[in-house]
Symmetry: D3
Subunit: 239 residues, 6 copies
């Protein structure tokens, strides 16, 4: 088996995380997994959704979008169609759930952090890149809140990152790009906490079902890849 990119099965694409990418957001990160580029902006607002009002607790949520020409052929603009696609909704719910697992919401006070993940350029793996970058943007927003004395304690429990794994041409591979993703039999997204806890695991057989053995290999591959991502997040946040 030869990956289209020439990478080894367990090899991540070149991953880059740039903080303070735009100037207005409390946390602003450009995350790049090879040619996939997502802008993650974290915004702090002093109000929570209705179901949380008056309870002293905060909330973290995410929204996701693709620029119409982030992809090979132009997609209709969701704002013009008047509707987010099912795929968009599925992805932004996943990002939000993943980020909430990183934070002790009771230490946020009645604040909401919204992380907007907008895909500037797509080449597979936009949802896992989004989670990985969004967590860094979130940390910057939490630091901002502490610096501005909006909160007194650090609510971060655990860094969170995500990566995709799949069965390509019969073999488990890490971090699929678009040419692999569009031909993979199975696609799995793995979201973990830095301490090794599993947060979300979604495996989908696109073509043939997968076996438990394949599943175990994909899981091992994903865990190894996530260690590199956690190291990169830490390094970038220390700068």
């Amino acid at each position: 088996m030869q990956r289209p990119s020439g990478r080894r099965p367990e090899e991540l694409r070149s991953v880059k995380i740039t903080r303070n990418y735009t100037r207005h957001a409390e946390g602003s990160v450009l995350v790049e997994f090879g040619e996939t580029k997502v802008l993650c902006n974290a915004s702090v607002e002093a109000e929570v959704p209705r179901f949380l009002r008056g309870q002293g607790s905060g909330w973290i949520t995410a929204e996701y979008g693709m620029l119409p020409r982030s992809t090979g052929s132009r997609m209709a603009r969701e704002a013009a169609r008047g509707k987010q696609s099912g795929r968009t909704i599925e992805i932004q719910r996943l990002i939000g759930r993943s980020l909430r697992a990183a934070v002790d919401l009771t230490l946020l006070g009645e604040h909401q952090v919204t992380v907007d993940c907008d895909v500037i350029q797509a080449d597979g793996g936009t949802r896992t890149a989004s989670i990985t970058g969004a967590c860094v943007a979130l940390v910057d927003a939490l630091r901002h809140m502490q610096r501005e004395r909006i909160i007194t304690e650090d609510p971060l429990k655990n860094m969170v990152a995500a990566v995709s794994v799949g069965i390509y041409d019969g073999e488990p591979v890490l971090d699929l790009d678009y040419p692999e993703d569009s031909r993979a039999d199975t696609d799995m997204n793995l979201v973990m906490a830095e301490d090794g806890g599993m947060i979300e695991l979604q495996g989908t057989a696109e073509g043939a079902p997968f076996t438990e053995a394949e599943f175990a290999k994909m899981l091992a591959l994903g865990k190894a890849g996530l260690e590199d991502l956690f190291a990169l997040q830490k390094k970038v946040l220390a700068e």
Copy 2:
């Protein structure tokens, strides 16, 4: 640990599948997992989505809805709100993907089977009950197509069923009902093919992340439960 229902950890609720529940649909099944009741109607139509036209292949899709008072307090009717919720969209996409894994779409000709899963009464596990019941309704629709000479070969590759497992009060349990689901730390939905292949696996840490060991236990519990469900589907379809 004591389950609210008094069930043992590895015990399914009483599951019942009633075929020919309504008269118009080509396949019509009422599936009950304890107090959860879902009506699954499979409809055959002689046209496929635009992206498949002229290719000679068919399509299977699903839609999901909850009656406004299927739940403890009344939910707003999605048709009146003018919008399906993110949860609804996520679920119906999952059901559709799962069912497509059961069938050789190239043997369907240019036909679409739509399975409507409408929750009459909810008590946890509506998405896994939907998949389990929808597959039986789908088989009835495929048999109808063969009887009516719409297709000549049986396109069914494999029965598909689904079940939920979770960590409740620290312990893995099978087939969560609503009182368990609303307090579980982790919730996992497992969709498998009858031959043991895994089709979809979604694990979500609602509170604390889960460990690989917990994950393995949940998987084992789910696989055991699915064997009973496959046996029930087979028995019901033989009647």
Copy 3:
């Protein structure tokens, strides 16, 4: 003239009303007029529409929907289309008005009862079946409110029921089923109170206009049929 079902012109279909059909709603009724089956769930909520707030009076409203495959060929799901059809809106407004005529709203306090009428299987006459079943579900909800001391006095003024009559093949007939309805010249829906008061009367010439004489015959037929329906409601509510 021979009715497709073999019924005599003044003969109702077999009508069945099942109380406590689902478990969550304060009133839950399955009403069957032959093969037409509608689930009517009444929900009590402690708030009223904006225009009534602070006036001490309550409100009763209804929503109506058809499961996509309740009919001979599948209809698009209104929640997915993002819009209720004109027919749906017309019907749910009729049900709501009819039920409000049954109740002294000033005795409800600031509560709203919403009755959801969802058609499980359609064979003509779904709106009149809905009204007839919804009134029983409403009574169960009002009894619940008294039992729970939400209200102290019984707000029911009068049972309400409805039936259709039409001119089929030149002759007035009672309680049209779908084969009759789709070929009838005139269709009339009659909503009455148990004491003989008329609540709503809607006659529509689908093809040729109707004469006053035909109208008088339809009215007489409808009134006779409604007596049987009031008797059935009373019997069922006494159980």
Copy 4:
């Protein structure tokens, strides 16, 4: 009993029908029932709804709207809210059904006539005024079609007109204006053909149910009023 306007119970408001009110429509009528003013524009288009295509038959439909300040206090503009109200939909369906009863659709060829009824000023009875005026606009459009040789035979079967009757202060009255309508116990809209055939009859008890005797009186009052309206339509169309 004294009517707010000083009219006798059986007295219509001053009714005026002005043809050729605007210049673009094939039929354009301003109809006035006292202070109620509705502009009815009939447009001929060379296509029919999908369900009629290729059958050689035509269609007649109607749309209804109120200018935001046609009423005592400003109503939200439906185009800005993005949705027609239930009341609007109910009314335009009624107008369309009524007009279709006036015409032999098979003589229209594959053409559709759409009659737009826009309320310039409202003072009760806008739906019955709309039907009465729309029928004149429709006749002008049909004459245009014959003049332009779009059709060869006159498809008009019968003039159609409508009027409201109600129980006001215990007594049946004809053609309610807004002060009466807002306090009436019962409101009935009567749509008839010129030859005495009944096309649509909608009676609604707003407060107390009505008796058969009251109903009969309202019907007689309505029929007498309609004779005057048919005479006016005929006179105006002869000019």
Copy 5:
């Protein structure tokens, strides 16, 4: 060059402004520029948009619509399509901005005046006719507010009017009608205050770009035409 209407280049169409055209609105004006007829109704409401609440200042806004058959061929009804067109939105924003320039909003108290401009018949120049008529309706509404002691001081700073100019067949012309507008190379809308101040100026090259010299000529033509419009507004308001 010969204008289709035979007018001289600097000649307005016959302009007519009728006050008190309908009875409910606080200001109601029918404005006619030749065959273009727009009904402008100004409504006073005792609340302001959210962003102004509690600041003691008022607001003026406008909405615009065309009756479906105000034009040569029928346009879809925006309320039925569920969406205002881009053109509609652009026009109503222009009308609102223009009217706000006429008034000292701080003297309005927390009131909003909404001017609805509904096109009864279109023949080019509906947006400039709307502004010219809406300003008169606005003055009537402001006078009403003073008469009813809702406000004590006159908030009107300046009358506002508008006119179109364009390059037709190579020559600048004033007040284009539809046959001119649809063939003009350049179209400019000029909104001015009575004291000569410029409020809004929108020039658009539909075909070839325009030169500064042409622009200057159009501006001069427009200013001359506006003087006549201001004189007419004044005369009409003095009646």
Copy 6:
């Protein structure tokens, strides 16, 4: 008068145009006017809007959006609200009109070029920056079409650029940034062709009306600024 940025009245911000910013679009430009950054992606598609089909001519259109946190405080995502704002619609119509003036549409064949202008970071003047950058992206797309032999002749007639001018603190200034824009009395957007032709000119008095003398000064300022922008476009396109 002192501009917040310290710039001279006739001084542009530092303007930067980066071609080939993303990899999928036929033309992809990042345009920066100081801190305002807009990504302009031009997409070529082999179909035209319905009103142009079969006429052999092409079309150019634009869509505009702001990332939710491109601004100082987060704006609601238009895709999630299900609706583009009036401001968005106004801007994208302006961009589209401006670009169409640059091109001979009859030389495009039946192709559409859509230019998506997405604001990554906003600091005033996003619409004029969008036009200036979009024209460069458009040229790249046209070159692509010639290279790929989709068209044979160069359809570009003229480069198009845009700049804003305004009255700030009583004095005309060029290229307003956000702090200026939010306090300016008058705001004018000037779109010109490289040969000096005027394409679109929109002047708006936000507070006090402006005089003809002020208008003339703004126009001169804008024209001078546009010369620099045309020079930059040319230089960048020559690389």
